[in-house]
Symmetry: C2
Subunit: 198 residues, 2 copies
DNA sequence: AAATAATAGTTTGAATTGAAACTATTTGTA
DNA sequence: TACAAATAGTTTCAATTCAAACTATTATTT
């Protein structure tokens, strides 16, 4: 797809408009220019991106990513954990966990051990090498955030935390029963069908 | 990796402990049990997951994902956009945009047109099919969030929005200059080296 | 006890994401 | 004008993420 050829159709379309982000965009006007929903979503996208970038930096500098570190810390703190407990603990699906554990196991930071009680379950244990890493661990995002938060008055810290937790509630509730809201009829399905046959 | 064999080493390790998420976990104690940083991070992970799950549901029901819809709406609103403007607009890297546009183009919702002024730039235009989809669009996450927020008193809405925007500032600032905080020495690099040779 | 259902972990497939390396083009400089 | 540097978009690569389908094991039902 788009193999870097110069054979695209020509234009004569008005040039790309100057968009709002040309203006320094962490400055919001006192009077909201857009809806709260939009601003929340915009913020969330940027937060998600910041988390991802942090993880990549971690990966560059310490050869361990954010999710990997999160799993390692959880196993270190709680002792051996099954895949599903770990999934619940850090709010990821089991299929996601498997890949992360694969990579941690490759690096010999954890190991899988099958239970003899119930041979379906796998216990994930931290290795000595894993413990070594944890004890001299790179400051996880958590601590960095904590440090950043400490620069604010405590009332504000509390406000931020409880706001976030409220958003979580809203979004997770939405996930369960926003389906009726989303189902605007299957018109769109007809417009955009899987095979895109004209 | 872990090809579903039964040959793993046996255990005799204490069984996986009962972890906190066994307890209904959107209920937080009045007295914080953990640090603010941890709670913020926990919330962020859950929010990120909720966004992802929403996108998947959208994809199931309407054959368009969240990021795809975000791009489509941006192009619809601003008129033809270049890849880099679009990247700035929705806070994603250009390489990410390319993949998303590829898929939108496959579905004939947008098209690429190379500028004749400057043959390096590609303008992304919405097609009639794209406009049709937008006009009867599935409620984007933005609106769903807005609806959810409307259930709260406005003061609270404002608090939430400004808290989120504060977090954005903290995290994006951190992204720029938290490097010194993160660099805890290269010890970890020695513990976990790329090739894991013993 | 045999058949069925439930559970635990895994694999597969697709989308998203960004850094780094790359191609093509334009701009700036010697 | 020729050469270097900057810019725009792309490709490649790896990690994350989840649903759905799958294997192996345990629990339940008939």
């Amino acid at each position: 797809m788009s193999e870097y050829k110069t054979e695209q159709p020509e234009d004569e379309i008005k040039p790309a408009v100057i968009i709002s982000s040309e203006i320094p965009d962490s400055e919001y006007p006192a009077v909201p220019r857009t809806s709260y929903g939009l601003r929340v979503l915009q913020s969330l996208r940027r937060i998600i991106r910041a988390v991802d970038l942090h993880s990549r930096k971690l990966s560059m500098q310490h050869n361990i990513t954010g999710p990997q570190l999160a799993c390692l810390l959880a196993v270190n703190e709680h002792g051996p954990l099954t895949v599903s407990s770990l999934a619940r603990e850090i709010h990821l699906s089991p299929s996601t966990i498997v890949g992360i554990i694969d990579r941690l196991e490759q690096k010999a930071l954890v190991l899988r051990r099958r239970s003899s009680q119930d041979r379906r379950v796998i216990n994930i244990e931290i290795t000595s090498k894993g413990m070594e890493l944890v004890s001299s661990a790179p400051s996880p995002l958590q601590e960095t955030l904590a440090k950043a938060l400490q620069g604010l008055p405590e009332i504000e810290q509390i406000t931020i935390v409880s706001s976030l937790e409220k958003i979580v509630k809203l979004m997770e509730a939405e996930g369960i029963d926003a389906a009726p809201i989303l189902v605007t009829g299957s018109l769109v399905n007809k417009l955009v069908d899987k095979k895109n046959k004209p």
